[in-house]
Symmetry: C2
């Protein structure tokens, strides 16, 4: 790509128009990068913001292939896209980041775990099982012990397709389909590290953030940036993330979810080769947002400074359990009175229990104050119908 | 507006789709506020970003009136709109902020100066003249002395319509049309203060920023946030801005450009009842951006915290003199290597000398470092064709 055309006439195709696609379009609009979004829903969060919306299903080969001619480079905001479609685009001279090969290593959780094993990257012990019956068989043989985590190899999404099994009676409700069964790690902390690499193999890494989970929803409850951990663990986590992106040979951004176990060892949970929920806080908290960083990586621009400008706490705004219908944001105005509260409403018309409707990043030099504000907001703000 | 509909089904009409409209749409997209932009140019900066673009001329009554039915509240990003159109919208139950009456007090520079005089607000001495000949007449009578500043009462824009007259020979080139002739103030510093008021009469004010001018282009060269001034002058400047917005009875945001004269007195230069060039730095520099603040004021939401998170220097990216045609951003990649450099490219296809093509906000706790970076960028980055 020549200097002349650098900031004009560059069309970025984005497979998926959810909030991640939306925020990528927001970052792209700062630089006049034309964005073309493919999504089945005309009123998806990114549709009115992108330069061009194309109705189509990113899981379907023909629809992904149809992006050829509309974009100069293509990326994803969700793993569940047609990798055959990505291959086709590459044959037409349109680079996709991630590539089909890298995405295939990641989107199937079995392949992903094997990749770590084959590359000596630390992760929990696991077995790949083809069915619930096979799991029960291996349990009776003693090859699998409770407690364990069962994760569907394919199509897991936003906490679905993950089942933590602690008691025998749960064995009647195992998820059906090929899955990985992982030993249940005694987790001290859950971290996420976001790292980027551009085509010049320049790599820059954001500081680890700490995720506190809502186990009902299997989604992040709070996220604290930076993670409250020793410098040595923080450095090791960054180093691990850098190692992973290099081993994958990925250009673009990679979110690496890790555990610190009771022995202070780092274990990779899973990765996502796209902007990530744990990176929303970078928008207000860091010198460069994950979205801008992803753009820099995609277009082989110098990577931006990932330093934290200001500590923050991020909350997901989830649909209130028990409500489904046109979303109403109860208590939002109260929350807007609080200093340092940055609200993101994704623009999904319908709320459902635990649906990601938005997020709030509370920026405060005093993390305890930020956590207090977060508590207040959690009590006050309800997305109902 | 009921709580139920607060963040859904609210349509904001924006008259004008330039960069100010674009950045307002960017802020609106964080909260899922539907934006409807009226502009003559289909490829104006805001057009691909807004929810709906309507081709039309905001100076023309019929086109402004035609917004009725498309928006629930209407604002402007430029003063030169049809105020009769604003009146018509109000008659249809669509509030405009600013109102037609307030805008009329401001858009005509003669009316604006008289407003300050009538309200005992400090501003430089002035006379309203109907023509160049009248000015010459008053000079010969001794009522006007050189040097002075001549400003057209109407249609001045981005530094045009302003003529600083220091020598007699310039009197042959006076601007034609009704104008104000102001005594030329010996300026120590030029400040801008941005203040907001919502419909509950809540007022919040950003810290003064300091503007350093490019006198060739009659546009801002650098802008330093916060201004390097004594606390007492800073407080007085904020107090003055608050006083002005209250006297106008304006809901929305108001940018107040002021001078500090050689006696450390504050004098109002002019105001703009809309987001302003001097407020771009608020995006990265302050807790709340001017764009978000304007939205809060428009929708009667609690105003946001205007505190500076981090000092900054803002540069306008102006079209290089001598070039006109499809814009090329020479040296931009070099600038992207520097930490703390936040680049905004507005997306105007054609560059012209001194055309506002974008801006860069350099965030750095050390203002001298930021100024060094700004110098580097000024040398490196050229918008040519």
């Amino acid at each position: 790509m020549t200097e002349k055309n650098r900031f004009l006439n560059l069309r970025l195709g984005i497979l998926g128009g959810g909030q991640l696609g939306k925020m990528l379009c927001q970052a792209a609009s700062n630089w006049d990068i034309e964005t073309v979004v493919l999504d089945p829903l005309e009123d998806c969060p990114a549709s009115s913001l992108c330069s061009k919306y194309i109705k189509g299903n990113f899981r379907v080969f023909e629809d992904v292939a149809g992006i050829a001619g509309e974009a100069d480079i293509v990326t994803i905001e969700i793993e569940h896209v047609s990798t055959e479609g990505l291959r086709y685009l590459r044959e037409q001279g349109i680079e996709t980041r991630p590539s089909a090969e890298i995405l295939e290593k990641i989107k199937d959780k079995g392949h992903q775990k094997n990749f770590y094993k084959d590359n000596n990257l630390p992760t929990s012990e696991f077995i790949i099982c083809s069915s619930g019956d096979e799991i029960k068989e291996l349990i009776s043989k003693g090859d699998i012990k409770l407690p364990f985590v069962q994760k569907l190899c394919r199509d897991g999404y936003d906490g679905r397709g993950v089942y933590i099994v602690r008691e025998n009676k749960q064995l009647d409700n195992l998820l059906e389909g090929e899955s990985i069964v992982e030993e249940l790690v005694e987790i001290k902390k859950e971290l996420s590290v976001i790292v980027a690499q551009n085509g010049f193999n320049e790599v820059r890494c954001f500081k680890p953030v700490e995720m506190v989970f809502n186990y009902d929803a299997n989604l992040v409850d709070y996220l604290v940036s930076p993670a409250v951990i020793d410098q040595s663990i923080s450095d090791a986590a960054e180093e691990l993330a850098v190692n992973i992106i290099k081993k994958f040979g990925l250009y673009g951004i990679l979110a690496v979810e890790m555990f610190i176990d009771k022995n202070d060892n780092l274990l990779i949970n899973e990765v996502a080769p796209r902007p990530h929920n744990s990176g929303h806080q970078t928008i207000e908290s860091c010198d460069t947002s994950q979205y801008e960083q992803h753009l820099r990586a995609l277009f082989d621009l110098p990577l931006g400074n990932p330093e934290i400008k200001s500590p923050s706490v991020m909350l997901n705004i989830l649909g209130e359990p028990g409500y489904e219908g046109e979303a109403v944001y109860q208590g939002l105005e109260e929350c807007m009175k609080i200093d340092g509260v940055n609200i993101h409403i994704y623009g999904k018309k319908i709320t459902k229990p635990f649906r990601k409707m938005g997020h709030i990043t509370i920026v405060d030099n005093n993390i305890d104050k930020a956590l207090e504000k977060a508590e207040f907001i959690k009590e006050k703000l309800k997305v109902v119908a």
